[in-house]
């Protein structure tokens, strides 16, 4: 019974997946004459996710389950809410696009979508490497399918991009499968070092050279998933090829999942080996910030600009992560929460303008402030937030990340980060310039459908609301960070656990 309570979040999400599957199977096949089916399943998914999201505020899931392989509590609840929020926004954003472009395959789309979310809700609480691997794959595999979903039909707004979806999916798949293999190999080495699959027992064994290699492998594997330089090459191509509302989801949720995994494995499990993993992550963080910000400058496709900007943003999160204390972890979560609303918002606006006939280049934004002042204003807020400007959530996110790194004594990294943040401002302003200072020409005013509009409004409300009053969310994130680290077993028990495991072996 206790297990059910602790595991209710993944279970509820999985139930939703089953419901979606049943709906898809049991619903009558699309009538030949009626090409377009109503996005019923999509709305069911949205409603289900909203219900689960609301329930997280009432159900206390703290404790351990499945013989200690899963640990619920503020940490996994916070991340669970974050994934659910991303899921709700992603579902709302994709609703009409899916119904319009793949009317007959909606059920499978939503099934994959929800299954990926199930994996995400398991991942932060997983305390056993086997469960980690399962959850990690559960997150990843449906995403390959979703990326390829638009493979046959080119988007109505950009007929030339036919075939890009296949390329995008293939890239995502090959890179993802390789990264999974590398992660698995690294985890195997770590398991060999510790003699146990338990993450909380990892710390007990001293770091060996082989363990360090395993650690690097895990870092590389997860680095692919979060688009960390030098494992980032798939990011811009996939963003450009896959359908944009899906990319909005892809650009935030799996990355947050990867970050959660890094946090659990490194700061929680291998916290004592910080000296081993800190230098490489610091290096990759700086590279991510530099490469992301600098390569975003010459891009001409908005999705690629946002892709490189996302790479840079991951660099900032890593700064807070390597602080490796409760404050740093809390700020990692806060940053990710802010990143969900702003980055999804930005992608959804780009999607909307592209559908209005402008395409995905900068010219697609032309005169947006005249065509649709509210959409332009939302875009303004999202971009300012990504750039880290006050009174939108991004400012606090960047501020906290830098503060966390500063408190951990990483002054040099903070300096580099701040300078590169100013560089990044240039391309965000370029997009603003396109939206505000150019003539609309022949372009029609974009008319987003209800669901899409709702998604953008929610993103805007989040970005501005948290920006004006960050206090509660910061406290929540800090609690989550403390929860993860407080769960870390005392040195004595670690020793004990390690010994018993070894003895059992």
């Amino acid at each position: 019974m206790n297990d059910l309570r602790v595991l209710w979040l993944p279970l509820a999400t999985a139930t939703l997946a089953v419901v979606v599957l049943l709906l898809d199977v049991l619903s009558p096949p699309a009538h030949a004459s009626r090409d377009r089916r109503r996005p019923v399943i999509g709305w069911v998914v949205v409603a289900g996710l909203v219900a689960i999201f609301a329930a997280t505020f009432f159900i206390d899931s703290s404790g351990t389950a499945a013989f200690g392989a899963f640990r619920g509590g503020p940490w996994s609840t916070f991340l669970g809410r974050l994934f659910l929020a991303a899921g709700i926004l992603g579902a709302l954003g994709a609703l009409d696009d899916v119904a319009e472009r793949m009317p007959r395959r909606q059920g499978a789309y939503w099934l994959s979508f929800v299954v990926s979310l199930v994996g995400m809700t398991i991942l932060p609480g997983a305390r056993d490497l086997i469960l980690v691997v399962v959850a990690f794959e559960l997150v990843g595999v449906p995403l390959y399918v979703l990326a390829a979903y638009a493979k046959t039909d080119p988007p109505p707004d950009a007929p030339s991009s036919k075939g890009l979806a296949s390329e995008a999916a293939l890239k995502l798949y090959l890179v993802g499968a390789t990264s999974s293999a590398i992660t698995l190999f690294g985890l195997a080495l770590l398991t060999g070092m510790a003699g146990t699959c338990r993450i909380d027992a990892l710390a007990a064994s001293p770091m060996t050279p082989l363990g360090a290699v395993g650690l690097l492998f895990v870092l590389a594997g997860v680095g692919y998933k979060i688009g960390m330089v030098p494992f980032h090459h798939w990011v811009p191509d996939t963003y450009q090829g896959a359908s944009t509302p899906f990319v909005a989801f892809l650009s935030v949720a799996p990355k947050a999942a990867g970050m959660a995994l890094l946090a659990v494995l490194f700061t929680f499990g291998l916290g004592s080996a910080r000296a081993t993993w800190m230098p490489p992550i610091a290096l990759f963080a700086v590279l991510s910030m530099a490469v992301g910000n600098l390569l975003a400058l010459p891009q001409t496709d908005l999705r690629r600009v946002l892709g490189y900007s996302g790479i840079a943003q991951m660099g900032y999160v890593l700064l807070a992560l390597i602080a490796a204390d409760a404050f740093g972890l809390g700020m990692t979560l806060f940053f990710l929460a802010g990143y969900v609303v702003t980055n999804m918002g930005a992608f959804l606006v780009v999607h909307t303008t592209a559908r209005a006939g402008g395409g995905f280049g900068f010219e697609g934004l032309a005169g947006l402030s005249k065509r649709s002042p509210w959409l332009a204003a939302s875009f303004l807020c999202f971009l300012l937030s990504l750039a880290g400007i006050p009174f939108v959530v991004g400012f606090w996110a960047k501020l906290y990340v830098f503060l966390a790194a500063w408190r951990a004594g990483l002054l040099g990294l903070v300096g580099v980060g701040i300078v590169l943040a100013v560089v990044g401002l240039f391309y965000y302003l370029r997009m603003l310039r396109a939206a505000y200072m150019t003539d609309a020409g022949e372009l029609a005013p974009p008319k987003p459908a209800l669901a899409l509009r709702l998604a953008i409004i929610l993103c805007l409300a989040g970005a501005v609301g948290i920006g004006l009053w960050p206090g509660p969310l910061v406290d929540d994130a800090m609690r989550a960070g403390h929860d993860l680290l407080d769960g870390r077993p005392m040195a004595a028990t670690q020793q004990h656990d390690g010994k018993t495991e070894l003895a059992r072996r």
Binding site: P390, F402, V422, L429, L432, V474, M478
Partner: protein, 514 residues
């Protein structure tokens, strides 16, 4: 309401902006009157706050405090000290006049007024914030809308590349409004980045878990840290104050910006920079200041002279005023660098005096440009015959600019030079006075060329004098210049206790200098 007066002053423009946002785009007069009402509420609030400030008790008054991020100790805390009143008054006057000066705007009024009002909320917020992080938040709010304001409503004009590096400048669209907007935003935000680093360091090293300026001032930072941090704050805030060589955004930005934005930017925003250097840099880091003050003073002296020389060689009217701002902001920084009460009094008084004067200048330049459609001085001449009112006010602004006794400019420059003389750095008074002299040359030359002399050429016969609301802006600003020149005590009674309080950190040094 009275307990929340400062909040009202800060929030009124933003509230007006929210209302304007909800109005239909076609409701032109409703948009204008709502904006004017927002500005008027802030102005009235500023007057009340100024009037009711207890000059005898001095210190922090009207303290309001609301938690923003409790876990970090960030609070929205507002309060006013001796310096705040005059600066609030300045901001209130300039924005009120600025809205009047934008009355005839024809393109996208709604967005324009929204941005303008949000920006002004930021300015008010900086002046009353007692929490360093919130101070910084408002500072950014005041800086950023400028990008859109200049980029959309600004004016592009050809500036032929000149000088030994002209081959470089050819590649950039100098004179283009988008170039100016981007340059201004990026330069100011690089400055902000430096400020942010310093804020982190102050917060972490103080160990107080609070950004409160009082707590931070009470903390003891070791000398080495202070010496490292002060330049970050000096140059970070100094970029906005036009400190040489980080002033280059200012001429381009001010020349490209629409009238009200130039008024606000040169009139108020540059003061935020100087205010930041003094209120944050100098007050929090006395040892660092003591170490760097020779450099601060020397660079300020360069500012005064360099700005004046640059202004002398311009032919574009707006560039003249913009470079004169760079020169006059040098006077403010010079006063700050003296670390004497009278020097600081002079610096703050100069912020107000120059703010009003340059606001008047830009309003007048806007009027002339709107009618003559040129800003090139060689093409103008004898305009006094067709627009006598504008000519009279322009001359008044010029006289204040060159520091004629009886105008506000005289009071501040006199006090700053006196402060320089009293401080250990007598030498600084010389470039200062020389700068005032060169100012006299270029402003008088420009006035004569534009307004006086033989009547306007044929194409300019149809020009008209100022009208209705335009008179409003001119009369308000002109009156302030004269009143402050004749009766400086009005402000100095407020400023002086403020300076004394803020200088208390420097006590041994300041006394020694006298």
């Amino acid at each position: 309401m009275n307990e929340h007066l400062l909040t009202l002053i800060v929030a009124a423009p933003t509230l007006a902006a929210l209302v304007v946002m909800l109005l239909p785009a076609g409701a032109r007069s409703a948009i204008r009157f709502t904006s004017l009402a927002g500005a008027a509420v802030s102005l009235a609030g500023s007057v009340v706050a100024f009037q009711t400030y207890d000059k005898v008790a001095a210190g922090l008054q009207r303290i309001e405090s609301y938690p923003l991020v409790p876990s970090l100790g960030v609070r929205i805390s507002f309060a006013m000290d001796g310096w705040t009143g005059p600066l609030l008054l300045l901001t209130g006057i300039i924005i009120f006049a600025g809205v009047l000066a934008s009355w005839k705007l024809q393109t996208r009024e709604r967005e324009y007024f929204v941005l303008l009002l949000v920006l002004v909320s930021g300015v008010f917020g900086v002046f009353v914030s007692q929490d360093l992080l919130v101070f910084f938040l408002f500072y950014e709010i005041a800086v950023l809308p400028m990008y859109l304001l200049i980029g959309i409503w600004g004016a592009s004009h050809a500036v032929p590349p000149a000088g030994p590096f002209r081959f470089v400048w050819k590649r950039f669209a100098v004179g283009d409004k988008e170039y100016a907007a981007m340059k201004l935003t990026l330069m100011l935000l690089i400055g902000s980045a430096a400020i942010l680093v310093a804020i982190f360091a102050l917060y972490v090293k103080s160990g107080a878990e609070s950004f409160d300026l009082g707590h931070l001032a009470a903390a003891k930072y070791d000398d080495h840290l202070q010496i490292v941090l002060f330049p970050l704050l000096w140059l970070g805030f100094g970029t906005l104050a036009g400190v040489f060589p980080f002033h280059t955004w200012s001429p381009d930005g001010h020349a490209s910006a629409p009238t009200a934005v130039s008024m606000l930017h040169a009139g108020v925003l540059m003061k935020l920079g100087a205010f930041g250097v003094m209120r944050v840099g100098m007050v929090l880091l006395p040892e660092g200041t003591r170490f760097w003050v020779p450099a601060v003073g020397a660079v300020a002296a360069v500012n005064v002279l360099y700005g004046a020389f640059c202004a002398m060689s311009q032919t574009d009217l707006k560039y003249i005023v913009a470079y004169s701002s760079v020169s006059h902001m040098g006077v403010v920084m010079l006063g700050a660098a003296t670390l004497t009460t009278i020097g600081w009094d002079g610096a703050v008084f100069q912020m107000v005096a120059h703010g009003i004067m340059t606001g008047l200048f830009f309003a007048l330049v806007g009027l002339v440009y709107e009618r003559a459609h040129t800003r090139s001085i060689p093409k103008m001449g004898g305009f006094a015959n067709v627009m006598p009112g504008v000519a009279a006010f322009f001359t008044l602004a010029c006289l204040s600019s060159l520091g004629l006794p009886g105008t506000a400019g005289f009071v501040s420059e006199f006090m700053v030079f006196l402060g320089a003389w009293k401080s250990g750095h007598t030498m600084w008074a010389i470039p200062g006075v020389l700068g005032a002299f060169i100012t006299a040359i270029y402003v008088l030359k420009a006035t004569r060329a534009i307004f006086w002399g033989p009547g306007p050429s044929e194409q300019f016969h149809e020009l008209t004098d100022a009208r209705k609301t335009e008179w409003g802006a001119l009369v308000i600003l002109g009156t302030c210049l004269v009143v402050l020149g004749v009766w400086p005590r009005l402000l100095l009674d407020h400023i002086d206790p403020g300076s004394v309080a803020h200088l208390s950190n420097f006590l041994p040094f300041a006394v020694g200098a006298k």
